[in-house]
Symmetry: C2
């Protein structure tokens, strides 16, 4: 084979322009930085680590000039492949743009670079009597830039809403290399089209975020949690309904089926009573007396809904154990079942228990075990399909089961992603979910902001 021109000669140009300490080209780095939690490994050409907005702009111009596309990367926690980079792509890794630039108690506003960890902002707020409510289960390891790019939800959405509701402004580099300065520091604004929210959840396909202005709240004085065990799997969802029906609005309502409850308990060394069909973890906040009374009321609702055991967690240490258990679920399931695929379905609230039962049945029919947990308040389910990787027929059966479960979800009028996004993994599901006419316009928006197709191509929206 004759040696043609090196297709990746632009690696050298990147090193030249950005400096060797800001470009990774070694195979092991490239492999690591091309992968996300979807566990589909790929191989980028190089990764660039910008220190400031100017670097990001320069990278966009380089992409246009040299003909590569760009995959933005926060912490690589996406389970959908939205941060996965393939050959001929360059990763832009925001880990060095990790400064909290401003935190104002007066204005209830934080300004951050996209590489700041969600948990780092939460902690900093906590210290200053402030509160950044969005709380993806990954908050300790995921970045705010990634949270915004995927429109992350999390554990407190039932009362406080999702990441989308806390982005007041942002700076984004778009396809022509210009920097859009969107929104601002006011808590409300309706001037111009809401481009901020168009970028939230667009998975880096419309531009690269270099700065975020986030809304904060005063820190609630206190919080308390209570966990309830039910004999049947629908119990946790009945419990959540009973709480809301009494006019209580907890900040978290987390359900887990029996096996997930066991995995979570094991992860932190908690006892689990025998015969648990489901568990519900509830957290309320407010002043101390309100919390105490709300926990009483929540407990009464849970017992009425059939809970056979409840466990209160009032001190921060007690609450911490329950939450560590909850946050360990995703990795715990992975340890218990290294071969799994997990989905992130949303359904109308009233259909929760019925939808889960139908999804489990769809799995059972195909010999696939289905485990479910999720946010019972906003009816967003994490459904795990686990299998034996040694069984040659398993993968095919899982694929069928996932598709059948998505059908269940869509038949109930649900969504195939409540908070993880589409990435590469859910393009087919997104195509089935989205109105074809709407999808055509989404394609138009992509072409408007990114005519050359530089940003995270072929992700987030299925091609039309």
């Amino acid at each position: 084979m004759p040696a043609g021109p090196d297709p990746f000669a632009f690696r050298g140009v990147l090193v030249e322009r950005f400096g060797a300490d800001r470009v990774a080209t070694a195979p092991e780095d490239r492999r690591l930085l091309s992968a996300d939690a979807s566990r589909r490994y790929s191989d980028c050409v190089a990764a660039v680590f910008p220190d400031r907005e100017e670097d990001v702009v320069a990278l966009v111009f380089a992409a246009k000039e040299l003909g590569f596309s760009i995959v933005p990367r926060g912490a690589g926690t996406s389970p959908t492949g939205s941060a996965e980079a393939g050959p001929s792509q360059v990763v832009v890794d925001f880990s060095r743009m990790n400064r909290i630039l401003d935190l104002s108690a007066r204005d209830l506003v934080a300004i951050v670079e996209p590489g700041v960890l969600c948990g780092a902002l939460q902690e900093r707020c906590e210290k200053e009597g402030l509160f950044y409510p969005p709380d993806p289960a990954s908050s300790r390891v995921s970045t705010l830039g990634g949270n915004v790019a995927t429109g992350a939800g999390g554990l407190r959405a039932v009362k406080y809403g999702v990441t989308r509701d806390y982005v007041l402004g942002m700076r984004v580099v778009v396809g022509d290399g210009s920097v859009l300065d969107l929104g601002g520091r006011s808590l409300k604004s309706v001037v111009g089209y809401d481009l901020v929210r168009l970028f939230v959840g667009s998975e880096g396909t419309l531009g690269l975020t270099t700065r975020l202005t986030l809304k904060l709240l005063p820190k609630p004085p206190s919080a308390a949690a209570i966990e309830a065990s039910f004999r049947d799997e629908a119990g946790a969802y009945r419990g959540a309904d009973a709480i809301l029906a009494r006019g209580l609005l907890p900040r978290a309502l987390e359900a887990m089926d029996g096996e997930i409850s066991a995995i979570a308990a094991r992860a932190v060394g908690l006892d689990l009573p025998a015969g648990v069909g489901s568990k519900l973890l509830v957290e309320v906040d407010g002043d101390e007396e309100t919390c105490a009374r709300d926990v009483d009321r929540v407990e009464a609702a849970l017992v009425d809904a059939g809970a056979f055991e409840t466990r209160r967690a009032v001190s921060p240490a007690e609450r911490d154990i329950l939450w560590r258990a909850r946050r360990s679920v995703s990795s715990g399931v992975y340890r218990a079942y290294p071969a799994k695929t997990s989905e992130d379905f949303g359904v109308p609230r009233g259909s929760l228990a019925e939808a889960i039962a139908a999804m489990k049945e769809a799995g059972a029919k195909r010999g696939v075990k289905v485990l479910a947990y999720g946010h019972a308040g906003d009816a967003n389910l994490h459904v795990n399909f686990v299998y034996d990787p040694a069984d040659p027929t398993a993968k095919e059966r899982v694929r069928d089961a996932v598709r059948a479960a998505a059908d269940v979800c869509l038949a109930f009028g649900g969504t195939t992603s409540g908070e993880h996004g589409v990435g590469l993994k859910k393009l087919d599901a997104a195509r089935r979910e989205l109105d074809p006419a709407a999808l055509r316009y989404m394609g138009g928006i992509k072409r408007l902001f990114d005519p050359a197709g530089i940003f995270n191509p072929k992700k987030a929206i299925p091609p039309t």
Copy 2:
């Protein structure tokens, strides 16, 4: 002058296609339906009253065929001219599409047609133990379609957010006549770009909404209000800060200056203590005991911040009086000062008192009296510039004062519209506020959804 072809011959075609009972062409109807609360009167060619989505689609095709543009109208309460129709335009009046199609306590969802009054949905929810939190001061007369089109805020945004945060899905007819079915019934979804929020606040310039799916909450069991009077004008804002600094998050924090307080009190026959420089109206919600205790805490904060009188309103009847007073402000100012122009500025929270003082000074320098009230929680101010219409120099001085006040607002990093929108009246302010590069892309979005320029042309975004 030779009689050319009748430029408005399409009036007859509209009557033919939609029926005489669904088209208004009489001069008095046209005049009424062309005007909104911006009090700039204009004159449309005709108004069409659709009964269903098919009518709206037919109207869009008629517009393309016959060459007119369409101005959507809810209840005509826009103070910016966004519902104002000029010659050669056709108004589409949604007042007959006013059905609540679904109200589900199980799913916490309502599906409505755009002509439903906000207050009608609130009342219906109330009866079923549900809660639709967005509450523009105009809720009794404004429509949900209009609320969504302008991205309305209102009286409870500090705790519950704005209209934008409650729209789960919508159906919209866009420029090619296709109907986009956006979002759905799930409380969370991140599949595809967030076109729902792109349409929210777009003031009918991108398409015509025919159906809305709205998120509801369980009805808080109880609420209580407290009003405090301060000697100085900054007092109300100090009071709001003191409340938030104690970790309390009331559902409303409404400030009024001294003269506005007098106007509000007069409207409902309430006594006003002498020497009021400002007032703050605070409402908390939750269970009865929490409300009682929170009112105590709020009162303590207000007294510490310098309140010289407080008045509690715990029973629904007592609360109703305070809220009627608050809701009467806009019309009360109009009655007291028929010649006024009012702005809807937002500033960073911490700059509230300072910004108002600077705006009043900007008015005083030009001999213009400035009255201010607004949402102290989210720092959204209704600033009224009142003048003597008999004074020939007044209008010019008011124009100067408004511009100077907008400069103050922008210098503080604020926004020239927190919740009313841009319409026609604030195009110049919007141009000064928005990033020029972002504005260019907004123009691109307008052309994408409405290439023929049919929908509410020349509004919401300044031309580039």
